[in-house]
Symmetry: C2
Subunit: 260 residues, 2 copies
């Protein structure tokens, strides 16, 4: 079983991509909505939360753990790899690999939450894969609440996005990393604001791509040809009406969310 | 000493009003930023957090506790009154009293966070003070992140506010409760959108008014004529750059925030 956890609901974009691209694998999701957002917590606390989440998924039968949001990937992945008995796939490595492969000029933009941008993870990791890169990172903290409120098509969201992306427009980037799993849902809007020539790297899709490669190479989890997505289980640590609405918005169907 | 706690930073608007209106009283503030927002947590969890916060303030010498945001006031005030050895002032009672006194038509609007609106506290409490009232409540969840980001004067904020308040405009309310302590900072904008004829009741100011009345009537805390606001102490459970920025924005000075 594939175990996916997230500090909140952003990781549902990853879970949805797994359902679509890897339908023959059973999936278990945990969104730690009660302690969301992680960005305001201390690093040690976030590592503890990530460990707790992953251990819960392992106890439910997960044979591989996917960290499906950027901030815990940035600060807790190494520790999880040390402590867990199963493989751990985080979101940063696959995203960085896709970004450096896509960029020809080496001028790469990154947008994400304030916590992820302040962790400087992309600024640190990209040069490890390709030294001659110039990174422009930009925190866009209001995008997450706008997305979670379902304001994706609203005029105000387009204006706020334009305001955020403005400083990136004359940086001549050829690649832009969507360094927050929520941003998948704004992909089209971001593409039209930043221009068609810029390649978008969606961290939610990059991690699923990496998972797919891993599952093909290693027989960690057997395929189940008769598996349907209705057998997948979705857990949250706190459930509100807006949680349900947001999940339904991503999956285009009501999701049966179980509370831990 | 006056002890004020809040689930995050909204209560700083209350603390600032206390500094201005009751400058001769020493003040101790605790913002539980690490566990903010409370609105996504279960009711029992929020009561526990509120108790912990209040007990910390008592351990530091607080002789009266002020709950300075709406959601914990709505669900935890009764329990705190049972458990604490000091008087507890919450924000709902004073706000309701001011609102029913101000309204002549009995048509009262309330805006606030989704959690406060879903708690239905104003819809329950207002009729207890004045039976012939019609309450129109409206959750405005994006206002809080916009305010915390310091986007108070931005065009997008004005547009979002207009969109939120639109359903209230033809309800012929004569009184509007700002049922979130953050909204103090948007007061002028809200007044201009809803119209000059509507009386705004600011829950942050209502609770300070109530505190002032209490302190005049009871000698719980002696006045200290030589007390200055620089002796007041401000604690948070998690400290980030944006926390500091937001506090400075409210107080028009850098605030010395101590981390617990």
């Amino acid at each position: 079983m594939i175990g996916i956890f997230s500090s909140g609901l952003g990781g549902l974009t990853v879970a949805k991509a797994v359902e679509q691209l890897l339908p023959q694998y059973p999936l278990l999701y945990l969104g730690d909505t009660a302690r969301s957002p992680y960005g305001t917590k201390g690093i040690e606390a976030v590592i503890d939360y990530a460990l707790e989440n992953a251990l819960f998924l392992c106890s439910q039968g997960a044979k591989i753990i996917v960290i499906s949001d950027n901030y815990p990937s940035a600060i807790a992945a190494d520790r999880l790899r040390l402590e867990l008995p199963v493989p751990v796939i985080d979101l940063i490595g696959p995203t960085v690999r896709q970004a450096v492969a896509a960029s020809t000029t080496g001028r790469i933009g990154v947008i994400g939450s304030r916590a992820t941008m302040e962790s400087d993870v992309y600024r640190t990791e990209i040069p490890r894969k390709k030294s001659a890169c110039t990174i422009f990172s930009l925190a866009c903290p209001l995008l997450l609440p706008l997305i979670e409120e379902g304001w994706i098509d609203k005029r105000e969201t387009k204006m706020i996005l334009r305001r955020y992306l403005y400083p990136l427009r004359n940086r001549q980037i050829d690649t832009l990393i969507l360094g927050c799993s929520h941003y998948s849902l704004l992909r089209h809007l971001i593409q039209s604001r930043i221009g068609k020539k810029v390649t978008l790297i969606d961290s939610s899709l990059a991690v699923v791509d990496s998972l797919q490669t891993f599952l093909t190479a290693h027989a960690t989890i057997p395929r189940q040809e008769d598996h349907t997505h209705s057998e997948n289980r979705y857990f949250v640590t706190s459930l509100t009406e807006s949680t349900k609405d947001f999940a339904a918005q991503i999956f285009h169907r009501p999701l049966d969310l179980e509370t831990l």
